[in-house]
Symmetry: D2
């Protein structure tokens, strides 16, 4: 099992009128972490392996304020199906757990535009890092 601790910089622009990061922006952080995990694994984020987000869940535990220090998006693969896989991300801000998110991705064939089994090389790579739920 592999935990990816990805630093994600906050921006002043992320703040809403309550002086907290807007709830929708939390998923920007989750996306950023996911893209950076893909990069670490050598997965192109737009390669021949099409994968799309089909579901996300997020629990907001604490508001996030602006600071120049980045938050940590603790990310791992939590499930591997035939054509789908799940990544979980904890947003840890100033040492405190601020949100807990789960993203389900499905592999799809860009030509037929339908879902397809995860390619073998990609599957093996996820298996290597997997923490089954």
């Amino acid at each position: 099992m592999t935990i990816f601790d990805i630093e994600v910089a906050k921006r002043f622009k992320d703040l809403d009128p309550y002086d907290h990061v807007s709830n929708a922006t939390f998923l920007d952080y989750v996306m950023e972490a996911r893209v950076r995990v893909y990069r670490q694994l050598g997965l192109s984020d737009r390669g021949v392996i099409g994968q799309v987000v089909v579901r996300q869940e997020i629990d907001y535990l604490r508001p996030i304020s602006f600071s120049v220090s980045p938050l940590v998006a603790r990310t791992w693969f939590s499930h591997l199906g035939t054509s789908s896989f799940t990544m979980q991300t904890q947003l840890i801000d100033e040492g405190e757990l601020a949100a807990d998110a789960k993203s389900v991705m499905v592999c799809f064939d860009k030509e037929s535009r339908s879902s397809r089994p995860i390619p073998d090389a990609f599957r093996r790579m996820i298996e290597e890092h997997l923490e089954q739920e």
Copy 2:
């Protein structure tokens, strides 16, 4: 039961490198619909009744492309608890259901910064529009 069909304008800026609205941006649309429902009900979005989003779930059913015509965010109150309530939002783009989202809000006391029962007037107003799950 009341269905609020809120028009939300897409923006070219919402698009990602795949030429689709970014998955995180779907929650911007959901937020926009929620704020506009609050406005229709005469609820201030920043009044003395503090309410925060504590959980969101979203299923992505179809990609959303850019068009100058707005999408419809079909929104309703689906649950009313003691201190929390739930709103559901279907994003309907070009006549097709593109996403299904659920947002759970909790009322809180801005001074003590802890959750509190939904104020009576607000409760009655939600009850009037409620579609129990």
Copy 3:
């Protein structure tokens, strides 16, 4: 000369901690107006005619607050050069001029990735709508 009055919907998400639309977001509105003018003129925003923004200027005259009514982005072509053209956009919010922006675009050849003269059909279309500075 043609004035394009483009309605651009504000979003609650555009607000910053001062409860005003963030200064960077004003250019989102300008972009949105430009894309919608292109659409009205039948110009694809990603067609074979490559055009890129090479310069923008914006004067902020009044803060923009959130409201459910859209602002008006009053837009026109103000200059036509050999390979470049200029569009001006006034952001009019609640009947008041809030900002004045100028965007300079350059046509370029997507293959050689260098600037090129504006194609004739596009040039004639701009000429038809032009308000020379």
Copy 4:
């Protein structure tokens, strides 16, 4: 004279359908650099000294692509007036100058909501770091 080299992390979400950072987002980077310079100088970004952006200019020199390494926003104070001051920011991405921006800020009195001379302590601090144009 002081040059502030501020690292600003790019995000995958900043990309547009052309796979480049959206032109409006460049000003997000400029804003982020400005806020971080304020923080380095101990200036609150929302303190009693009200300051608002009244004008921005930006020249786009090269497109910015996504990468996990941050860009550098090279920022300095280039002008100091009675009630206004100017900051310049060069966005340097992967070692190349990608954009050149100028932002003019005006101090204002939050109660009378009109412009006012820059407070002495703030003025002295800018003077210390100033590179006159």
